[in-house]
Structures are given as C-alpha cells and as structure tokens.
Symmetry: C2
C-alpha cells in the first residue's frame, strides 16, 4: 500500500481499517481469511494488520490480491483471553492490540477491529484514544435480532461499565441514536429505556431521572423516545435503540444468547430423535437454514465501543472467517459514514445544544 493511501480515508475514497490479527480463539488464520473475504466484496478496503510479521506475511500472501491492500505492522506480543486488563495496560505496549489502537490514535485509520480480550481492549482504548469530550462512561453497543423492519435493535451498554447514572444513560441514548442512524440507516430511531415495567412510576431512581432527561433531549437529537420498555421488547418492534446500564445489559445479552443456544440444541435433538424425524430434518433443511441465517450471531458480529476518539469494533473471540468478515463490514460501514466525527458532534451537542444540525443533514444515503 502506498504512503498516500495510508491517510484516514485513503486515496481514491478507500477506507483504511486497523485490524488486530491476534488474540482470537482461532488465531490469525481466521482473521486473515475474514479480511480477505471482506476485501473481495469491498474493493475500497485497505488494512493495517497488526501481529508477528513473518507469520502474517505468510498468511496474507496465500490470499489472492490481499497483499496489495494490506500493510503489516509487526508486533510480537499477544493479549490472551485470560490476561488481566490492568496488566496489559502496564506491560502491553508490544502487543498487536496496542499497535492496532495506536494506528487509530495516529489517525492512520478510523476504526479498530479486534477479536481479543474485551476488558483489555476497552481499557487500552480508553487509555490511548481517550474519551470524547463530555462523555463520562463509554459504552459497548451490539445489534440484537428483532422484529423490526431492519431486523435488529441496537442495545447499549452491554458491559463496558457496571454502573450508569441518569446522565450516563442519556449519553448512551444519544450515542445509540447516532449508531442506529449510521449503522442501520434509520433517519429517526425510536429509543426505549429498559425497566421492569412500562409505567412511569416504576423502577429505580436513576431510571426515572433518565426518563425525564431523554424525553427532554429527544427532539434535539432527532429521535422518538418511547419511554420505558421491558426485556420482552429487546427482540421486539417497540423501539430501535435500547438503553440500559452495563450490568443489566450484560445479563440480558448472555441470557438471550443462552436461551437461543438451548433452543437450537433442543431443536437438533428433536430432529435426531427417530428415523422419521431425521428424514423430516432433511426436508426441512432449507427452512432451518433460513431461520439459522436470520438469527446467526456471526451475521451481526461486532460490539462497538462508543464514546471514544475513534471507533473500536470488538468481534466475538470465537469468530470464524464469516464472523470476522461481518465485523470488518460493520467497521467499513461506520468508517465510510464518518461515524466517529458524527458521534463526537452528537455528544457535544448534548453538552452545548444547537450543534447537531450537520449530523442529520448529512446522514441520508451516506451508509450502505
């Protein structure tokens, strides 16, 4: 890749992503296969790939055309899943994760993609990229399969921080709206605040305060606030953005994933019970594949860290090439829409109102 192409948006409209090749459960081969897959679909994609140079060069050279769009940045250290984030913060400056974040800090790329240790990735991202002015707690947002026309809801925070007060929840709402607009192309997202009932008098004190704050900011933020929503609305069609603290969000996410997995396993058992049910499963294969594709977590792979100077896409640790390619696609969409800058403007507008006109004006048609 020429030096000219290494600018933030690259030459000829190309998009540069900073990809951590290491730390995922399947090693760098899955990551390289994933970016190769994404590169075939998006000729505008360019990669800064971080990890042990010799190993990565071998892997990249085997993929047709990938060398031409990839620059390898040597980093010998690896952040492992069991490493303590605080240890990596102090001693991790030789790791591929650190190097990947550094490239966004230096404005060589706008978005980081990593399959590694979530805690370490969040801590390093906060340390090196710093929080956006006005943001108290960054959040992790994910896409959740739902009954919405777009097929997904945005939910945040799903685990960046176990605490959140009313102002944090307001910021999550604003960041989630910006993400839904740029990541899901929704001009006017509907926002719900997660609670144990939809009545306004219900729930904890900070939720009642946040209800009022979000209601007051909804018009400025070009979103519709639907008020309190319940756990059953997470896969539903009442809203597009679900706001909650990182403790509750993490429990809800893992409960939903666990329930889906249990049903999937039981479905397999049911279809392997007898010769007749095995025959039925063959006939039903297309239907079941259609269902699987609809709720396949690999299709929506990628938690997004919001509230930092730069965007970080956290791919699932066990992501296979399809999963990595989905995370890269998400990073590409966000980079192309200028999401990092728009989010910064959106958050700043809540601190100093009347500063958010340009986000909505520029949004339509800029993504996908």
């Amino acid at each position: 890749m020429s030096a000219e192409q290494q600018s933030e948006t690259g030459a000829q409209g190309s998009i540069v992503l900073s990809v951590d090749a290491m730390g995922g459960d399947r090693g760098p081969a899955a990551v390289v296969a994933g970016i190769a897959k994404a590169a075939q679909k998006n000729p505008n994609l360019r990669f800064l790939l971080h990890g042990p140079k010799d190993e990565l060069e071998q892997l990249v050279s085997r993929r047709k055309g990938l060398s031409a769009v990839t620059e390898i940045r040597n980093a010998d250290g690896i952040v492992h899943m069991e490493d303590k984030p605080s240890h990596i913060m102090r001693h991790g400056d030789n790791t591929s994760m650190w190097s990947a974040i550094e490239a966004v800090r230096n404005k060589e790329a706008t978005v980081v993609v990593s399959c590694g240790n979530t805690g370490a990735l969040m801590l390093l991202s906060m340390l090196r990229l710093k929080k956006l002015p006005g943001v108290n707690r960054p959040a992790i947002a994910i896409l959740w399969p739902s009954r919405n026309p777009q097929g997904f809801n945005v939910m945040l925070d799903v685990g960046a921080d176990i605490r959140a007060d009313a102002r944090d929840l307001l910021q999550y709402a604003l960041m989630g709206v910006s993400y839904a607009r740029n990541g899901l192309s929704l001009p006017r997202p509907r926002v719900g605040l997660l609670n144990v009932g939809v009545e306004e008098h219900k729930g904890r004190t900070e939720l009642k305060e946040a209800h009022e704050l979000i209601a007051n900011h909804a018009s400025d933020a070009n979103c519709d606030f639907v008020g309190f929503v319940e756990g059953s609305d997470i896969p539903g069609n009442r809203c597009d953005v679900i706001v909650t603290d990182g403790f509750t969000g993490n429990i809800a996410l893992k409960t939903g994933e666990g329930t889906a997995k249990l049903i999937g396993d039981l479905l397999r058992e049911a279809f392997s019970y007898s010769p007749l049910s095995r025959l039925a499963s063959l006939l039903a294969l297309t239907s079941l594949t259609r269902l699987k594709k609809r709720i396949d977590p690999r299709r929506v792979n990628g938690g997004v860290f919001l509230g930092l100077n730069g965007t970080v896409v956290k791919s699932h640790g066990s992501a296979d090439p399809t999963g990595v390619a989905a995370a890269v696609k998400l990073a590409y969409d966000l980079a192309q829409s200028g999401f990092s800058e728009k989010l910064a403007a959106r958050v700043a507008s809540a601190v100093t109102p009347d500063h958010d006109a340009d986000e909505t004006g520029q949004t339509n048609g800029t993504t996908k």
Copy 2:
C-alpha cells in the same frame, strides 16, 4: 366438602388449596377447567374456590366430580390487571383475591393459587400473610427450562422487589434451596449468584458481600455454592438455583421469554415459506411438538412467592386450563411436602443457626 376436610391438610391425607377464580385474562372458566383437570389426576385435592358464587357454581357443576371436592366462597369484587396495587390494598377486601389469601391466613389451606395482577397479589399477600420472621424482602421464584437433569433451574427474585442487599441475596439463596429441595426433589441443590463474570473480583459491592455470606452459609444449608454465574448459565447446567435481585431477574426472565418467542415465530415463518417447507413441517410435527413440550411455559406455570407465612403460587395471567392445572400441581406438590413450614425453619436457621436438621432429614421422598 365436609367441615372435617377443611383442615389444613384435610381428612384422609387430602390437600386443600385456596384458588382465586377471577382476574385471569381468560376468566373463571379457564380456572375451573384447570382445577378440574388437576383434580382428575390427584384424588387427594380439595379446593376452596373464591369468586361470584352463582357464576362459579354453574361452572363447577358442569365438571364431573368437581362439586364434591370444591367449596365455593363468595366474593363479588375482582382485581383487574390494570388496578393499582395500593388501591386494592385499601379497598380490595371484597375481592376474590383477598378472600383466597384470607383462607391461608386462617389456616384453612396452605397454598394460594391466583392468575391475577402480580403487584396486587404480592402486596395483599405481604399485608395479610405477613413476612416470615427474619425475612426482609419476600421474593418470586420461577422454574426456568435448562440443561439440568431435572430440566429446570429455580431463579429468584424475578420481580418482587427491585432492590436487594447482600443479606437479602443470602435469604433468596436459602429460600431457593428450600424450594429446589421441595419443588424439584433435589437433596443438595447447587446455588449460583448472577453476575457479569465468574471471577470473584467482578461486579457490584453487594454481590461481593453476598458471595462471602452465601459461601459461609452453604454448608449449614446443605447446598453447594458454585459462586458467580452468568446470564448464559440461567438455561445451563452449572447450578440449580440462581440468585439475583428482582430488577435483574425480571429483565432476564422477560428477555429469555421474548427471545424464545421470537425464535418460535421465526421457526413458524420458516416452515410456512414454501410448499416444500410446509410439507417438511408436517413430517417434522412430532419433533417440533416434542421440542415445544420441552420448553412450553405452561408446563412450568407458576411463580412462587417465598418468605411469607404461607405459600402463594402466581399463575400466568393468560394461563389456559393446562397452565392452571400446572400451577395447581405445583401448589399441590409444595403443600404435600410441608414446604411452608420447612421454608420457615430454613430461614429461621440462618438467623439462629443449628436449627435446620429436620428439613433435610424429612425431605427425601416426600415430594412427587
């Protein structure tokens, strides 16, 4: 029913349940059909049925043999789903719900069954039955489909109270253990404390304190404490009793239900997509029915209010006769095992240790 049979456990070993016929979404017909179904399977069952006398007499007389085991207690007032619990507390003494609770208060029955308004049922139960000595917050426990040999986990609190401190969580653990022993016949239940990670240093302060308290009481309570568990363990096989506060529990429950429902709907859509998939669904019918039965919420219908002088089984508001019969079966099992007394002894033993020998000694073989 003779006066003799109206004692707490009834004559000839019969069990008397106090059933609120009103307030469910499907009206008293579903409740009467449900208790008739349960009565056919358990000849020992006797009912005190609360509601408008004329209407109930008509419904009961149409079910063969039901009049002989049912005594109707007239109550003209109905608690509706949209009624405010505080209003019912002040003005609800003419309702069928109030009357049903009163029969347990007067020791005419040990367990209440109601399909009505959860908030009102909890508030009336606390007001009339009072909390057990030593219990700060009562809890609602439910059975959750899981990979356990018994097919279910006990989870509490799923919504009685949105707050819980470390001592409350300890009491939930003890009450959940007692419920798992008497409701699921598990001599030595495994207990997990719900958190955002399994490491001991993770989570909120009250969770770390509760971790220590439960660990210290596990041996006395004849249970195994497995430490922190995550949302994905709720449908899993790591433990039998999952302890959490009512806010988190409510969100997890509704998220799990919503996810299961979404997958069910998508499965139906997938199988009605084309003529071939419709043919496949016919062949797969047995397999799908087997799956549906395994996770059918009606089979495990009944949240149980724990921590009161008497046991209250809250059936789902939309329960059909099968659902009501399941709630009645659960109430029967709990009444027969002497659950209310054992739970009281268990909680008392945590306040004054060395008082819990009789619960475990009597348990094996007393249920089901």
